[in-house]
């Protein structure tokens, strides 16, 4: 506190209001605790030690604030901060200290979470204004400020708008204020709440319901190994808490909860509506060429967490460490981003039972329009009468088998999926708990596909030894049974003759011989597939505060995933009949076990009232084991056993044994790390943070196992500078600069060592014997892939919390790219080798804004917008030894386009370049014409040369946008969520293969009938389309039933639609496809249909 400064301010009344608010902010000098726990009730936990003699009350309050997250709210006129006090308290709760501190005074205190409200009696004297503003005729207005639950809001400011005249609400949220006649309105404000302005008119009583601000000033941000107050964060960290999660059904991944919500975080539902698939995620562009491209997930402090172990309903918040300075503390696996998931915990004294449920169904997003039976017969006539000799010659292959089948209808259904979640939480002063059961019965849109998940979770937090010790135990277990299906059923349905029946008269599946032809319904129904998982995440975290500010924590965790799969191809499945296998059964079992031990020591201290220091150091050990076995048998005399009686097959007993019919394998790896971090801030104004992680991985060469990952970042809270004191519309303005290194070790094990594996057989002295050979080119120099990232950001909170802006600019450079290089043989053993060469950059900008354009008692409109732009460049893939100027990737596939790569990975270019011939037109006969390289000559297919190929587009989206509109009117709420992806192209293989009449006897799209193409399919930019799209991704209408019952605390119903509409020029099924890997933008023919989802749900709280 600045007494002199305050005195000066109070002699300048115009500044008083601003100062009142700034003061609150100034008081918040909080030490971040190196603690991964969410704290249930702060005042029950936080301890303060004071040893102060002949100090002013002000100094004592400063000390309390520096040792804890508490801050004092009071009226300078009421509380004598210069009062001299003596206080000796060793590690006491605040509730023990306050009575001592204010003994014998008229000061009342109330502790509300981290806020300590100081008031004096009587209430009427609570005027901020001095006598000078008091005039004879005044109207008295009284009222109560409450939060949305009806609880009183004490300590709120009530000010006559535009004046310095104001009061503070009391413990019960009550206030009383005298206003001069003619005063227009009152402004109510409180930290963490949305300020409200209410017109006075003729009112003498104004009760106000204050809503929590979307932008909580006292928001706590989860960072690596701890938490920080939002305003102290110096890195780029995005947080989405559960109330802001996407609404509606979550069918694939918890990450769907934040899809489109975070600038820079691209999430793509790459597998259509498949309930057994996950989503693609990419943070700030492509992070690697061949290393692990999936983010590091941290669940309640356990790095490498498996998202399958938690149900979406149990997630309290998802934090994304976007920039290198934030992620570097987890350094080694942070290249593709760090996702920190914090689960819900119990709160002391409050027993809450929540039940939520929803049911949803799905429909085609865009059903491809295929030629039907009548069109098929007409097409034959058209071919016969066509002037094209090619079409004439193909007329005979269009055969009418008499049926009329919509094959896409035959493979799909109207699924009904349901999700139920029941949680109970609560606790006493020393022990809190949270338990939940989650059941998800997800039916796929493609017949047979489904996923059935049961998850149970229990979290217990216990405090002991006078709250110095805390122990948290988490146990989460997920059982799931998925039935994945063969996506080729979709491709077969697309291309199957519409006059073929599904079934023969005898009830068997109708099949016909030929190239790549199979009854798609049979492909779904004549295979038994099952994948059962049992995933456990168990952890115990212990933390002990040795002396005030010094805390030792240790965490042990076990994550185990057991999987057993079954596969049975029925005896009468077409492929089994063709191959003469008489059915094929397979079982596999796999166990993955990750063990984690982490310990760290942290110390925090405030020196001289303004120097806040927080130091943390720790050790981390993780090991990962993965083992599996499997067996396969064929030749069954019955379908009856499915995959449950492998021994019944005759092939293995007959000695007809393929080398991979029985197998087992096992591998393991380890990560060991030391890490540390120092946070320093001066007076909340200048913030500095530095961290260092040294981590070793077993995967790398003996001299390169250890990598060092430093980070440094700084923040400047400009709004706290005195020169900003007059800028009224700025609530907070902070500049951040950060630099950090992260790594990637996402390659296979044992690549640095010369190891031998099975390698074929040979006839030796008339007997077949097995061979052993080096399994790969060993690379003893293999080392960490490292990314250096610089980030500059600005956070601004403006206009009384109505507008919150964040802008980040970054440049990330990945060096020592892990890549499987083509190497010469000799000297190498194999023509590929894993090594570190090359450089890739991503540069981008991210902007997000939260606005509250309208905020009244009855109607609220919140707007949440984010946009990001990223430019990727593969700078180099070569050095003196290894050269890869370019590499062609991803053959398009049969028929006819094997060995026709669609992409070129090239130095100096971004990832995802399409590369091929440039379409120039058609000959009068409908044959292809392509441009030559100089683009001045049209060449036929026979004439065009390899040198005429060019870059045709790029499949990697450059820009992502998300816009959430939330409207609340009375008890109704409406969410409209738009999501856009821009700046990329797609290769529409559906058109390439099916928008071409020449492809008969397979079926074609109706658009083929008018297509000018009368030639075998060729790859060119004729099939490269702009993928830009905007989706109406979520539309949710909810109703909160106003309940006054004792049992039911709240009840909400809602209806939601997801992926309802895609506004795009793209002619394929869905422009939202895979973004990961080196070949983004390839829209495959085999896919799971994209769907729109309709959901009805209910939430009840008891």
């Amino acid at each position: 506190m600045k007494k002199n400064f305050d005195s000066w301010v109070y002699s300048h009344p115009a500044l008083k209001k601003l100062i009142m608010e700034l003061k609150i902010a100034f008081f918040i000098i909080v030490i971040s605790v190196s603690n991964v726990f969410a704290t249930p009730t702060y005042s029950q936990v936080a301890k303060v030690s004071l040893n102060m003699e002949n100090k002013s009350l002000e100094q004592v309050m400063d000390e309390i604030e520096s040792q804890s997250e508490f801050y004092f709210i009071f009226n300078q006129k009421q509380i004598d901060v210069n009062r001299v006090v003596n206080i000796q308290e060793d590690n006491k709760l605040i509730t023990d200290i306050l009575p001592e501190l204010f003994k014998g005074t008229n000061v009342n205190y109330t502790v509300l979470d981290r806020k300590i409200l100081l008031t004096t009696d009587p209430l009427e004297n609570n005027l901020l204004a001095t006598a000078s503003v008091t005039e004879p005729q005044q109207n008295r207005i009284t009222g109560t400020a409450t939060d949305k639950n009806g609880a009183p809001v004490p300590g709120a400011n009530v000010v006559v708008t535009g004046t310095t005249q104001g009061v503070i609400t009391d413990f019960d949220g009550k206030y009383s204020i005298n206003v001069t006649p003619g005063s227009k309105s009152l402004t109510f404000s409180f930290i963490g709440m949305v300020p409200q302005e209410i017109a006075i008119g003729t009112l003498t009583q104004i009760n106000v319901t204050m809503a929590e601000s979307a932008i909580g000033l006292d928001e706590v941000v989860v960072v690596g190994y701890g938490t920080q107050r939002r305003e102290e964060v110096t890195s780029s960290i995005a947080t989405v808490v559960s109330k802001d999660f996407n609404r509606g059904a979550v069918s694939q991944s918890p990450l769907q909860l934040v899809q489109g919500k975070i600038a820079g975080l691209a999430i793509s539902r790459a597998s259509g509506g498949d309930p057994t698939a996950g989503v693609d995620m990419q943070l700030r562009g492509v992070s690697t060429v061949r290393g692990d491209a999936s983010p590091l997930v941290i669940i309640d402090g356990i790095p490498g967490g498996n998202m399958n172990t938690i149900s979406p309903e149990d997630i309290a918040s998802i934090n994304i460490l976007r920039d290198g300075s934030a992620a570097a503390i987890y350094g080694t696996r942070g290249n593709a981003g760090v996702v920190i998931i914090t689960t819900k915990k119990g709160t002391a004294g409050q027993q809450v039972i929540n039940y939520s449920s929803y049911v949803y169904t799905e429909r085609w997003l865009n059903k491809p329009e295929l030629v039907d039976a009548a069109g098929w017969i007409q097409m034959k006539l058209d071919f016969q009468n066509s002037s094209s000799a090619l079409l004439n010659s193909k007329a005979s292959s269009i055969v009418d088998y008499g049926a009329n089948t919509d094959w896409l209808d035959e493979i799909t259904r109207s699924p009904v999926s349901q999700v139920h979640n029941l949680s109970i939480s609560g606790g006493s002063e020393n022990t809190t708990y949270y338990g939940s059961v989650n059941y998800r019965d997800l039916q796929g849109f493609l017949k047979e596909s489904s996923n059935n998940i049961l998850n149970g979770r229990l979290t217990i937090t216990h405090y002991g030894f006078n709250k110095r010790l805390s122990v948290q135990m988490n146990l989460s277990n997920t059982f799931s049974k998925a039935i994945p299906v063969d996506y080729n059923a979709y491709r077969q349905a697309m291309q199957r003759n519409p006059t073929l029946p599904v079934y023969n008269l005898d009830g068997t599946f109708n099949e016909n011989a030929g190239y790549d032809t199979s009854n798609p319904v049979g492909m779904l129904l004549q295979y038994d597939r099952e994948q059962k998982n049992n995933e456990v995440l168990a952890s115990t975290q212990i933390s002990y505060e040795i002396v005030s500010g010094l805390k030792l924590s240790a965490t042990g965790a076990l994550q185990r995933s057991d999987q057993i799969t079954g596969y049975f191809q029925h005896r009468d499945a077409f492929a089994a009949v063709t191959a003469g296998t008489n059915g094929e059964a397979q079982r596999t079992a796999r166990e993955r076990l990750d063990r984690t031990f982490e310990s760290n020591l942290s110390y925090s201290k405030l020196f001289g009232g303004v120097h806040s220091l927080n130091v943390m150091a720790g050790y981390s050990y993780q090991d990962f084991t993965d083992e599996a076995f499997g067996a396969r048998n064929r030749d069954f005399i019955t379908n009856f056993f499915s995959f449950n009686n492998l021994g019944a097959g005759l092939q293995l007993p007959d000695g007809k044994y393929n080398t991979d019919d029985v197998y087992s394998n096992k591998q393991s790896s380890k990560l060991i790390a030391f890490y540390g971090r120092v946070n320093y801030n001066f007076d909340g104004k200048y913030l500095l943070s530095g961290s260092l992680r040294q981590e070793g991985s077993t995967r790398f060469g003996v001299n390169n196992k250890w990598g060092l990952f430093p980070a440094i970042s700084a923040g400047w809270t400009i709004s706290r500078e005195s020169f900003m004191a007059n800028v009224n519309f700025v609530d907070e303005l902070k500049l951040r600069v950060g630099f950090g290194m992260t790594g990637n070790q996402g390659i296979g094990n044992y690549l640095s060592q010369q190891i031998l594996g099975n390698s074929g057989v040979m006839l030796y002295n008339g007997k077949w014997i097995p061979g052993y050979a080096p399994a790969s080119n060993p690379n003893p120099d293999l080392r960490w892939e490292k990314k250096a990232e610089t980030n500059i950001g600005i956070d601004a909170i403006l206009f009384n919390n109505k507008l919150n802006l964040t802008l980040d600019i970054y440049q990330r450079t990945t060096r020592d790219l892990l890549y499987q290089y083509t190497v010469p043989v000799p000297p190498n053993l194999y023509n590929t080798m894993w090594t570190n060469i090359g450089e890739m950059t991503n540069k981008g900008i991210e902007f997000s804004a939260k606005v509250s354009p309208v905020k009244t008692n009855k109607f609220v409109w919140d707007l949440d917008f984010n946009v990001s732009y990223n430019v990727n460049k593969l700078v180099s893939l070569s050095n003196d030894t290894y050269q890869t100027k370019y590499q062609n990737l991803q053959n398009i596939g049969a028929p006819g386009l094997n060995d026709t790569p669609a992409f070129r990975l090239e130095e100096g270019q971004p990832i995802g370049n399409f590369y091929g011939y440039q379409f120039a037109g058609f000959t009068p006969e409908g044959a292809w014409l392509f441009w030559n390289a100089a683009h001045d000559q049209q060449l036929t297919f026979a004439q065009v040369k390899q040198e005429d190929k060019a870059i045709l587009g790029n499949g990697l989206p450059k820009s992502y946008m998300g816009l959430t509109n939330t409207f609340r009117y009375g008890n109704f709420d409406l969410t409209v969520f738009l999501r856009g992806v821009f700046g990329f192209q797609l290769l529409n293989t559906q058109r390439l293969f099916y928008e071409n009449r020449v492809m008969v006897p397979v079926n074609v799209l109706t658009s083929a009938l008018t297509s000018p193409v009368i030639a075998d399919p060729q790859y060119s930019d004729y099939y490269i389309e702009n993928g830009d799209f905007v989706k109406l991704d979520n539309l949710t209408l909810g109703y909160n039933v106003p309940f006054k019952g004792n049992v039911v605390k709240s009840l909400r119903f809602y209806a939601s639609g997801q992926n309802l509409l895609a506004i795009t020029g793209y002619k394929g099924q869905d422009p939202e496809i895979r973004i990961n890997g080196l070949t983004p933008g390839m829209d495959y023919r085999w896919q799971y249909p994209s769907v729109k989802t309709f959901t009805l749900g209910v939430n009840v709280q008891f």
Partner: protein, 537 residues
Amino acid sequence: MNKLIKTIYVLAAIIIFSAPSCTKLDETIYDKVLTSDFYKTQDEIIAALVPAYGDLRTLIDLRGTHSLGEFSTDEVILPTRGRHWYDGGNFQRFSEHTWTSEVAYLNNGWNAQFQLVNRSNMLIYQFSKLDNMDATLKESFTAELKCLRALGYFYLLDNFGNVPIVDRFDVPAGYLPANNVDFTTGRKEVFNFVESDLISNVDKVSADNNSSTYGRMNKWAAYALLTKLYINAQVWTGTAKWDEAITYADKIIGSGNFILEPNYFANFVSQNQNSKENIFAVPYDEYRTGNGWGSYNTTIWYLVGQHFTGNKIFGVPASGTSGSCALPSHYRSYDPKDIRLKGWMIGQQYNKATGQQILCTEESAPLPLEYTIDFINRVNPNDGIVYDHKNALEYMGARFAKYEINYQGNGMPNDYAMFRLADILLLKAEALMRKNNGVATQTAVDLVNQVRQRAFAPADYVPLTTGTLTLDQLLKERSWELYFEGWRRQDLVRWGKFVRGTWEFFDRSGESDTRNVYPIPQPQMNSNTNLKQNPGY
């Protein structure tokens, strides 16, 4: 309480200071084995040799060396058929002689050939370092590996010519092999290397010719390789070595180990390991070797050539892919009574199990599937369309069935006959003729007639004479006898007819000599700056 605090301090100290001691980062290996832990027993040492022979199956894979030897010739073609087999135009480029250094099969061929070279080098080095290895075994394995290495270089010489010579495994770090800056000199050096390696090791490998050396690089296989090396000496080095070719052919012929099988197809049946004609074969097993599509035995003999309904024609588990076929001119070049012609299937095809006529399923569905020799429209021969390698229909072309199709498990059990006595007999005849200014000697005629006689019923057999056996006739005889065995390109080059040779569909009279060798594949050029591209590419 103080006691408790002290306990906590101690515990804390233990946690903090014990943890950092866990910093060992050795990898634990479970399902593989470190090289340093292996080669302890005789069985383990022998197991090390296996991959070299496994590499032979990669070497002869259709999607590599075998394609390079056949699809650019007058025997076999892999035409684009309707929507199938365009595949980046690679097969059309082979047929047209317009391949580029980016054609994947070139790289596959290079990789497989150098893989054998390098594997041999590695094993030679490894065995040399083993002090627990039986000395006799070490010497014979090393000699065998040097001959295998020579086999790899033999193919490299043929396909790419001037390639780097790498004769050791323990090269310095960062070593990148270089070829000679001059193509002609470089190719000569490679030739000399192969020659000297074979000569100095041929007497160290086993002279046995029985089940103990079947599938192995024994003396007879090495002799056959020497014969084939010398017959090409003029093309590869500019210096003819006809006498040397004759010498080594004679060693084989005179050994009495090999006879022409009375039945030509006995060399290609599913259990052809009993052939007395095959000098060197790569053994296959339907379950142990080859996994699925990419492997040699499923592709060449069966899948690539036969129609999609091939499974029904032969009553076997896997379908064909309707690819390669005989060039009409090749088929028509035979005497119709030639027994060997039965290795090319033509005419209506029937379901083996039911006897029913098989129908086309693709662009010509539902016509009966009748393989035609010529590329003509069976329904409307005068449709005005010229059918060739770019737009064939599914029934066009005679299909390869020289190897008995008896597919099971993962593939076929037929062994790949690399060197056959018939080939050696014809090579000796060729050497004699070339020594004699291209004119046949009676010995040459007798050799060719031996091979020829077997191909005809006694009543149909018309022997050749010194008047009728010309070099051109010999080139045809080689084609009829050795069709699709991977040698045609090499033969045509030796006859000077690979470039500028004109046969059905292709008139390449203006072609340059550049195409007599393939370019060094682009990925190799990209990954090794020490390589100089072949002239003209």
